[in-house]
């Protein structure tokens, strides 16, 4: 087995194992760390797919910013008694069935489809082609995404402010209602 296949299988194993731990870990902080591992694995897959700029952007944005944001949110919302609360709801069996069924359908249709593989070479240079495309063919989505990011920035700052800044004297601090009674049948 040559090194390329070895690298692919190692990275695929890493991503899938990390993803399984993300969705099944009891400790939410551990889930975040496994998510970071999975994101690194995906960056490695981008390198295998000859997209080095995208790999660096993935690490920079996902690992450096989005994961950090999630870890901050976890730290700010952690409760002392969290470990005793069940971390999955009652739909584990159905969820497993649904996702396995979805996987079966997708993989079956994938393996049946003859994709038109093209043997043309990829353009040289890391990022140059992407930059040119972003400013010529994709300039409208580029500008819209910048407005979207600006809106997200302002929106997040406004939403997450504490209540007293907006004039309400004290947050209600009512506890969450208990889940509704399970209907028999």
């Amino acid at each position: 087995m040559d090194t390329f296949s070895l690298a692919f299988y190692a990275l695929a194993f890493l991503i899938i194992a990390a993803a399984i731990f993300v969705v099944t870990s009891k400790n939410i902080f551990h889930s975040a760390i496994y998510l970071i591992l999975a994101l690194f694995g995906v960056a490695g897959i981008y390198v295998l797919l000859q997209a080095p700029f995208l790999a660096a952007a993935q690490v920079l944005i996902y690992v450096g910013a989005v994961s950090m944001l999630m870890i901050f949110a976890i730290m700010l919302t952690a409760r002392i008694a969290d470990d005793s609360i069940r971390h999955t709801n009652e739909q584990v069996g159905t969820g497993l069935l649904v996702s396995l069924g979805l996987l079966a359908v997708i993989v079956y249709s994938l393996w049946q489809t003859p994709f038109p593989i093209s043997a043309a070479p990829m353009p040289e240079g890391a990022g140059g082609t992407i930059g040119r495309l972003l400013l010529t063919q994709f300039v409208l989505p580029f500008e819209i995404v910048s407005v979207l990011l600006l809106g997200a920035l302002i929106g997040a700052v406004v939403i997450a402010q504490k209540d007293k800044v907006r004039g309400v004297s004290e947050p209600p601090n009512t506890p969450l209602p208990k889940p509704a009674e399970k209907v028999a049948g």
Binding site: F29, I36, F53, A56, L60, V63, A65, I71
Partner: protein
């Protein structure tokens, strides 16, 4: 003159011949070459940190009109080795109620992130481990990764001082990454390439150094990099008088040593990147290329140490507003000016 690139080539070819004689394929050759290169970089990083720790103590002492370590070896040069031996012998205490897995991996993550940058730093002519075609972007990405180590350390220590220190450190590092990356973008607009080796190759003459064309970018980079390294005047998260020791409060012995080493490695990295981007890398007239690189980088580190004993510490809110309200608009202005300059001088 005394260039090391031929030596590197001889070693590389030697490994190639040796592994091929054993009958293994080219993949093994690459693997062994990479392992040897990694070992060399690791040894170099350790030696550099040993030197920097001694130098920091001497420089700090001289700035404060005292002598610093003098007894252990000539002018205290063996002091660092003595300290390292002491740290190695310490008992590895793991406090109760810490999150064991994360507590163990936090210093590893920080140290690996600090060391992984050295893959693409041009130490001299032909002395890059791998001249990646996304060089400087790779360096920026890996430096954002150190934040995760800080947060892991702060969270797992089960200690409110460590948690607050971790929060503040992470917020500071993330806030100052943005002006740092934008200052680097200004240089990249001029170099038209992300590869570190090519950036150095474009600055062979003294007047071609990018410092002359990007003075504002250099200043922004210098200030943002000082904050990235958690150095004074931006070292509130780990100031001894403020938060015990910040996020490393619960670490002792070898684990503390790893955080400490990572901090000094970060200082060296930041100075090395500034040398490559703004001061011509390893280019220079008489001395061999690696000597010029070391001289320029160590001067950069000296400037960082100089800041520590010159400026008072900024408060956390002053720190954050300085990054977002002053440095960031300045970095944008720098990019606009660079773009205008390119447009005017190309036509």
């Amino acid at each position: 003159m005394l260039e090391l690139d031929k030596l590197v080539k001889i070693i590389g070819d030697g490994i190639d011949a040796g592994i091929s004689a054993l009958g293994l394929g080219p993949a093994w050759v690459v693997l062994v070459q990479l392992i040897v290169a990694a070992a060399v970089v690791l040894i170099f990083a350790s030696l550099v940190v040993l030197f920097l720790v001694w130098w920091e103590r001497k420089v700090s002492a001289r700035f404060q009109m005292r002598l610093g370590p003098m007894r252990v070896g000539w002018q205290g040069t063996i002091q660092t080795i003595a300290d390292a031996l002491k740290l190695l012998q310490k008992e590895l205490i793991t406090p109760a109620n810490v999150d064991r897995g994360i507590y163990f991996w936090a210093p590893v993550v920080t140290f690996v992130a600090a060391l992984a940058v050295y893959v693409t730093i041009p130490f001299g002519k032909g002395l890059i481990v791998r001249d990646l075609n996304i060089g400087i972007l790779y360096i920026l990405s890996i430096t954002t990764f150190t934040v995760i180590g800080l947060l892991m350390a702060g969270w797992s220590s089960n200690n409110k001082y460590a948690l607050l220190g971790g929060f503040r450190s992470a917020a500071q590092v993330v806030s100052y990454e943005v002006p740092m990356a934008l200052a680097v973008v200004g240089v990249i607009m001029l170099t038209q390439t992300l590869s570190m080796g090519e950036i150095v190759a474009q600055q062979q003459k003294f007047y071609q150094w990018y410092i002359w064309r990007q003075p504002l970018g250099f200043l922004i980079y210098l200030v943002a990099a000082t904050a990235e390294c958690n150095r004074t005047p931006f070292d509130l998260p780990e100031a001894d008088s403020e938060l015990v020791a910040g996020f490393v409060t619960e670490y002792s012995g070898m684990k503390f040593a790893m955080f400490f080493l990572a901090e000094f490695l970060n200082m060296f990295t930041v100075a090395a990147v500034a040398t490559t981007l703004f001061f011509g890398g390893w280019n220079g007239p008489v001395l061999p290329s690696w000597a010029w690189f070391m001289i320029k980088t160590l001067l950069g580190v000296f400037v960082l140490m100089w800041f520590r004993w010159t400026y008072p510490r900024l408060r956390v809110d002053q720190l954050m507003s300085f990054a977002w309200k002053f440095l960031l608009p300045l970095a944008f202005i720098n990019i606009v000016l660079t773009g205008l300059g390119i447009y005017i001088f190309k036509s």
